[in-house]
């Protein structure tokens, strides 16, 4: 019962499924952030995107600098473990670069927005935001009275992206996708989305997926494209495949402090390469430096 193959190149997947004006989610919390997809969106010159992520991270900083974004929806906009996202800051502080509208939540708020979107509900209730200035900054954070207890609960609206990109360790050709390590909100984001692009380190046979079904985060029925792109998450990481490139995150601080630095980076490593394989070739020693050590789990018995 294997579906038809959805395997295609990154270029084709972005050309077919990411359009100007779309609400785009590239999820992955520190782990499995698909830089390869972000770079291809920049190369294809997409404009007026509403970019949503809990942590915009370097990938959205690059996309903001490249002029892809009209609006950013987020909950923590920093360079993790390092400091600031400078393209984002310049835009919000009015210090140059394209204008950027923002819509801001906390992590719980963003998670709840994806949960509502995935369940096809209009909003999600939560016990949150009392005493904070966030609802004043973002009028989409509202309140309802619980019909059972009378308690006031905070609500956030569903987030239903036009397209969600998730990076994963492996999938089969029809898009049954397995993730391990930190799983973030990828499952909710994918189910909330109209279209889903899955990008994987390895393409595997359906039998491999079937051998460990508890590890499947996203089933083929919601997937539109499968892109095989080893090292596609660098400088983020893929548990069991390669480590996070913390040195690059530190280096981004200096690269991004001035707009010219980002432009030079994008010219060389995004516009200057046709695809991810060429990007990896432009980083000599990268794969040896970050290749993960092995830590296998002993496995489980699925018999009956």
């Amino acid at each position: 019962m294997s579906d038809v193959s959805k395997v295609m190149s990154m270029r084709d997947a972005v050309a077919r499924f990411v359009h100007d004006g779309d609400t785009v989610v590239i999820e992955g919390f520190t782990h499995l952030i698909c830089f390869a997809a972000g770079h291809e969106i920049i190369r294809q010159g997409r404009r007026d995107l509403t970019l949503c992520r809990l942590t915009p991270d370097l990938i959205y900083d690059q996309m903001i600098a490249a002029g892809c974004a009209r609006k950013l929806v987020f909950s923590w906009a920093g360079n993790p473990g390092v400091g600031s996202l400078h393209a984002f800051r310049r835009a919000v502080e009015g210090k140059g670069g394209p204008p950027l509208e923002i819509e801001e939540y906390s992590h719980f708020g963003m998670v709840a927005r994806f949960a509502a979107g995935a369940a096809r509900l209009p909003f999600w209730p939560m016990r949150n935001y009392m005493g904070t200035d966030l609802p004043a900054a973002n009028p989409r954070i509202r309140h309802i009275t619980c019909p059972y207890t009378g308690e006031a609960l905070a609500t956030v609206p569903a987030l239903n992206p036009d397209v969600t990109v998730i990076h994963a360790q492996r999938a089969d050709a029809s898009g049954n996708t397995q993730i391990w390590g930190l799983v973030g909100v990828q499952k909710e984001a994918a189910f909330a989305s109209a279209r889903v692009i899955v990008v994987v380190e390895e393409l595997v046979e359906e039998a491999v997926i079937r051998s460990d079904p508890n590890r499947t985060a996203v089933p083929a029925m919601i997937v539109d494209a499968v892109v095989v792109e080893p090292w596609g998450a660098h400088p983020s990481y893929a548990q069991g495949y390669y480590d996070r490139d913390n040195d690059f995150y530190v280096a981004w601080e200096a690269i991004s402090r001035d707009p010219g630095g980002i432009a030079r980076y994008l010219d060389e490593f995004v516009h200057g390469v046709p695809d991810r394989a060429s990007y990896v070739e432009k980083h000599p020693g990268l794969t040896a430096r970050l290749h993960a050590t092995a830590r296998y789990c002993p496995g489980v018995n699925y018999g009956f």
Binding site: F29, G81, F88, T132, V183, G184, D243
Partner: protein, 246 residues
């Protein structure tokens, strides 16, 4: 600061760990007096035992050997909103007289002088953790009378108790700085001087905060880091000096 913060954690407690100094303090506590400390990271690692100091809150070393890895919907709903987190550990660019924390903007929200990263999980940790510890270096800029923006609520203006607003957690009970420890007054929620580092006097602490600082009737004395704590911090936990200075 890391060792003073670590001593606030009891063995077996469930701690929601923030990145930076809180992370260092939690791992120091785990290596010394609190080996059964349960570290929860917002990225989804529960019972993490990182073999290297995590640079980010989503480091792969948090996964390897942990007790559980769950999605972030589970972190915030099944663990935090469910009331399972005993201690929340927060830092902030600004901490005010009532322990409110700002990590969003310096200046006006719509036109900030400095745009900071924002809440992340801090707002809900401040609301739900049974108690909160705050870590920040003392300076008048970092400790204004009133924060520019309340990202994570402390005791607000001191007039209304947190419970009346429906906040389940007790809020910030202690603020650990590099010169002293401040505590929230039980009646008003106002931060007052509770203990001094060796060689520091109260006037030095006053000059680092933007309001007339009250004082506990009896001031505590903070012991300097032990040789074991220093060795662990410098040689084992943070040999690359990611968080430690000097």
């Amino acid at each position: 600061m890391a060792s003073v913060a670590a001593r606030e954690l009891a063995d077996g407690e469930v701690v929601f760990v923030g990145i930076g100094l809180p992370n260092l303090a939690c791992n120091l506590a785990r290596a010394t007096h609190a080996p059964r400390l349960v570290l929860i990271y917002e990225s989804g690692a529960v019972g993490a035992v990182p073999e290297r100091l995590p640079v980010s809150i989503g480091d792969p070393a948090l996964v390897t050997g942990s007790l559980m890895v769950c999605g972030m919907a589970d972190v915030f709903q099944l663990l935090l909103q469910n009331g399972r987190v005993e201690v929340g550990f927060l830092g902030g660019a600004q901490v005010d007289r009532y322990g409110n924390i700002n990590t969003t903007v310096i200046g006006a929200y719509a036109r900030p002088t400095v745009r900071l990263p924002g809440s992340g999980g801090a707002a809900e940790i401040a609301i739900h953790a049974q108690r909160t510890l705050v870590v920040s270096k003392l300076s008048p800029r970092a400790f204004p009378e009133r924060v520019d923006f309340i990202t994570s609520p402390g005791h607000l203006s001191g007039g209304v108790p947190r419970t009346q607003l429906g906040m389940p957690g007790a809020g910030p009970v202690k603020v650990i700085t590099d010169k002293a420890v401040l505590e929230a007054d039980e009646a008003t929620g106002e931060l007052v001087l509770a203990a001094l580092y060796p060689g520091v006097d109260a006037s030095e602490v006053q000059s680092g905060v933007g309001w007339p600082l009250g004082c506990r009737p009896r001031l505590g004395r903070i012991d300097p880091p032990t040789a074991t704590e220093l060795r662990l911090l410098r040689d084992v936990l943070d040999p690359k000096r990611l968080h430690l200075k000097g």
